[in-house]
């Protein structure tokens, strides 16, 4: 009884604190009135929040982060959805290998990927007349391409999960009713896998949104993302602006994840309540 009522809740509480404490520390520090990240924070002010939205140091980074996040989420979702359709519905040799390749970015060391991407983006990569890359360092398209690779597994997995729940006979039914393949896709398949596409896109965005390693490799002083700048600033100075921008990143993540959670909960309710 003592175990049940005291030890277990205490253990769980400790775990939660351990996980959340580093994040919770940042929030009060971002509201400090002082000039340094001190603990405990001194006074209360929003000055650092106003700094990040006025200081060019930050205001030039935020659009880059948003562009890279949205751009890479969009292309990762497009590619991931097509890949999921191909590997779920298609029949071909080496399907297992292809599936593993699409999931590889989850396990490949980010530093290795970052290094490879760095050289390819900087110098280009040629076999005979076929070439790729070169001159992509410090550019938004370069960052988008690299983050697309990192984000790809998320929409791939979420769309594949949605697709598994779609009866393949629906395609045949649509065809027998007069729908050519492209109309079947847009009026039957796409609406049914849209929850997977949306949550996949959100995850792909979040992967890019707080990614530091690859972004550091590919950034130039002029073009870099918010997390890269936070990391650089924390090493050089102790400006609470880094804490404030971290809180903004955190808020965006929380809002998006909550939205996905609500969406799937609503879907789950409507499908269970109707099953009877």
């Amino acid at each position: 009884m003592i175990l049940r009522r005291l030890v277990v809740p205490a253990f769980i509480g400790g775990m939660v604190l351990f996980l959340v404490a580093p994040i919770l520390v940042v929030i009060p520090m971002s509201f400090t009135a002082g000039n340094a990240m001190d603990w405990p924070p001194q006074g209360f002010s929003l000055r650092w929040y106003s700094t990040i939205f006025t200081d060019p140091e930050w205001t030039s980074r935020i659009p880059v982060s948003v562009q890279v996040g949205v751009g890479s989420a969009f292309s990762a979702t497009m590619l991931g959805t097509l890949a999921a359709l191909g590997t779920t519905r298609g029949r071909f040799r080496g399907k297992g290998l292809v599936t593993a390749l699409f999931l590889a970015p989850l396990v490949v060391p980010v530093v290795a990927l970052g290094l490879g991407v760095y050289f390819t983006w900087a110098l280009g990569w040629h076999i005979g007349p076929i070439g790729f890359g070169g001159g992509l360092l410090g550019s938004v398209p370069g960052l988008i391409l690299a983050h697309t690779v990192l984000g790809l597994p998320y929409p791939y997995v979420t769309v594949m999960t949605s697709l598994r729940g779609v009866d393949p006979n629906l395609d045949l039914a649509a065809a027998s009713l007069g729908a050519p393949p492209w109309r079947t896709f847009f009026s039957v398949t796409l609406p049914l896998i849209s929850p997977g596409i949306i949550s996949g896109a959100v995850f792909a965005f979040l992967v890019s949104w707080d990614e530091v390693v690859i972004a550091t490799f590919l950034s130039s002083p002029r073009t870099s993302t918010v997390p890269v700048e936070v990391y650089a600033q924390v090493r050089d100075s102790i400006s609470p602006a880094a804490a404030a921008i971290s809180c903004v990143l955190l808020l965006v993540s929380v809002v998006l994840i909550a939205a996905v959670g609500l969406l799937s909960k609503k879907r789950g309710q409507s499908s269970t309540s109707s099953k009877k």
Binding site: N169, L170, L172, A173, A174, S176, L177, G178, P180
Partner: protein
């Protein structure tokens, strides 16, 4: 709506009511489907008349669904051709065939309401607004689901969902309606109710229907003609009573219902034939040529309801086949009584009669049937079919 015209999906007179519109004829010519080493459909030839209700009946793996999928256009035959009203459709994709299909698992679009599901084929054909709504309403009332249009498939019962699927497959006035075990997922009472309704729809609409099932009673109840499939081949094609009363092989006899089989050798006697077997000599009906040529080995098939039970005390009737047996058990089934009897050589027979008998299990009885109440089929038909 260029696209639609190009696809040939133009309903000639969309305003014609569904009732009495008639259907197309379909000709299947030596269609074969080969999967690697396995031949799922083997040289099938079949002609379905306009307005006919034809059932493809067979055990699982007999190729009936494969044949249906080729007619629908989901897979291409390895060889052979399909003609719809005399036009070759072998290479036409399914969405240009104008053939309706009802699936066993309904295959309704879960994100659309019943009415939206039914409107889907009309939308694909560019039928809009008022006319589309009218056609959907007509289809809904045809399957007696007025007022259910706004419901999502998951808010409906299995039987209702299957009616929506049926309405969706009928609303665009298909040239042929295909049904792939459409009642298989429903319970017995619902299935029987829908069978009656399907008969009514077929009668009212005059549409051509090709129906796939493995349930022989369902096939008998619904069809104008039945094609029995076995290992990818059409074993026999005919009306229900033809298949039941004069099966061409033991397989058909067995598949169409319960039967008692006597195997033996044919012997000529005074211009007629006798079947001589282990401990019995039976009169047989007229003998077909192919049996005569197969070395005289034949099987006599007798349906349980053709047999009568005579108790030992009753007098023998002339001109009947008679075998002696022992009553094993009598099962009272309400409309009939089912007797299990054992012949002296241990063979079990099933007799279906009406009314009770005074004989008790263990008593000696005679089993009798008129000479032409049985059918003679070649015994070694399996080996022959495999060879050819």
């Amino acid at each position: 709506m260029n696209n639609v015209q190009e696809a040939g999906l133009v309903i000639t007179e969309p305003s014609t009511p569904l009732i009495k519109r008639g259907g197309s004829s379909l000709k299947v010519t030596s269609v074969t489907k080969q999967y690697d080493a396995f031949r799922a459909v083997d040289d099938c030839n079949l002609t379905i008349q306009s307005g006919e209700f034809l059932t493809l009946l067979g055990p699982s793996g007999s190729g009936k669904t494969t044949l249906l999928r080729m007619i629908a256009g989901f897979s291409a035959p390895s060889s052979g051709r399909l003609e719809l009203d005399g036009v070759d459709i072998t290479a036409i994709p399914p969405y240009r065939r104008d053939i309706g299909l009802v699936f066993q698992n309904y295959a309704l679009f879960p994100h659309m309401s019943a009415a939206e599901n039914i409107a889907f084929p009309l939308k694909m054909r560019g039928i809009k607004g008022h006319q589309r709504r009218e056609m959907v309403d007509e289809a809904l009332s045809l399957v007696k689901l007025e007022g259910f249009g706004h419901r999502k498939p998951r808010q409906m019962s299995g039987g209702q969902q299957q009616r929506v699927a049926l309405a969706r497959a009928l609303v665009f006035r298909p040239r042929i309606l295909l049904m792939d075990e459409p009642l298989g997922a429903l319970d017995k009472r619902l299935r029987e109710g829908l069978q009656v309704e399907l008969r009514r729809l077929h009668r009212e609409l005059g549409i051509t229907i090709i129906f796939v099932t493995h349930d022989q009673e369902e096939a008998l109840a619904l069809s104008d003609r039945i094609a029995i499939l076995r290992a990818g081949r059409i074993e026999q094609l005919g009306t229900g009573s033809e298949l039941y009363e004069s099966p061409a092989s033991l397989f058909v006899a067995d598949f169409m219902g319960e039967s008692n089989v006597f195997e033996g050798r044919l012997e000529r006697q005074d211009g007629s034939f006798l079947l001589v077997g282990d401990g019995f000599t039976l009169h047989v009906p007229s003998v077909a040529e192919d049996i005569n040529s197969s070395g005289g080995q034949a099987s006599l098939v007798v349906r349980p309801e053709r047999l009568t039970l005579r108790e030992a005390s009753q007098p023998k009737t002339a001109d009947l086949n008679t075998v002696r047996a022992t009553l094993v058990d009598s099962l009272y089934l309400g409309s009939s009584v089912r007797h299990e009897v054992r012949m002296d050589d241990g063979r079990l027979l099933t007799v279906r009669g009406v009314g009770a008998v005074s004989a008790r299990p263990g008593d000696q009885v005679y089993v009798e049937w008129p000479r032409d109440g049985a059918v003679l089929v070649p015994t070694k038909v399996d080996a022959e079919a495999a060879k050819s």
